[in-house]
Symmetry: C2
Subunit: 91 residues, 2 copies
DNA sequence: GCTTTTTACTTTCGGATTGCAAGTGATTAT
DNA sequence: ATAATCACTTGCAATCCGAAAGTAAAAAGC
């Protein structure tokens, strides 16, 4: 879910996910990326910066998780102190 | 999350959760009930059937998770075959 | 062109978490 | 009075996770 959130926020590279404030271990991150790809929530694409490196983007199925993230964000903002709103507007 | 879903659906007793199709082991269930109580998502109440047994209900904070469940249900219905809609109408 | 750094992982390993099975004491049904 | 149900707890093997280190390929710096 945190990987999906990062993708919605614009991050798209392995290093971006690894540097997120939750600081996921890289072995777990690699496993999650693999599983999310198997579930067709994300897909691999070539990096946008001209290099031969990889990046990830949400599939249509993955983008459809946005309302779930927004509902969770709203709940956190309303009920859990310390919740930060990095996700933008509704729907 | 599955405990919260069961509570939204009407189940309220330990046995109800334990008998859910996901069949959670009872030691994990006991742990989750304790944690959800600590997080003030659920609270203990006396059972409704006159016996001296226990039941659980959602707090206001817990009930506020309903939109999250609905968003997840909608996603499952749209993208995951085999998703069953046991949750009722919107909001 | 050669060295250093970055990237995207994999491997290793101790500790935490989980699933399964069985057990327990109190309450309730027969 | 006896049996069954309820709401857990305990014990143990297997799985999963986090932290750290290692690696191969690509990119950056000089």
């Amino acid at each position: 879910m945190l990987v999906v959130r990062d993708l919605v926020l614009g991050g798209s590279r392995f290093k971006d996910f690894a540097r997120s404030p939750e600081s996921i271990p890289t072995n777990i991150l690699a496993d999650r990326l693999q599983r999310l790809r198997a579930a067709e929530v994300i897909r691999q694409i070539p990096a946008a910066d001209g290099t031969r490196r990889l990046a990830y983007e949400l599939t249509e199925k993955g983008a459809a998780l946005r309302p779930v993230l927004l509902a969770l964000r709203d709940w956190g903002l309303a009920w859990e102190s310390g919740t930060e709103a990095r996700l933008g507007s509704r729907v």
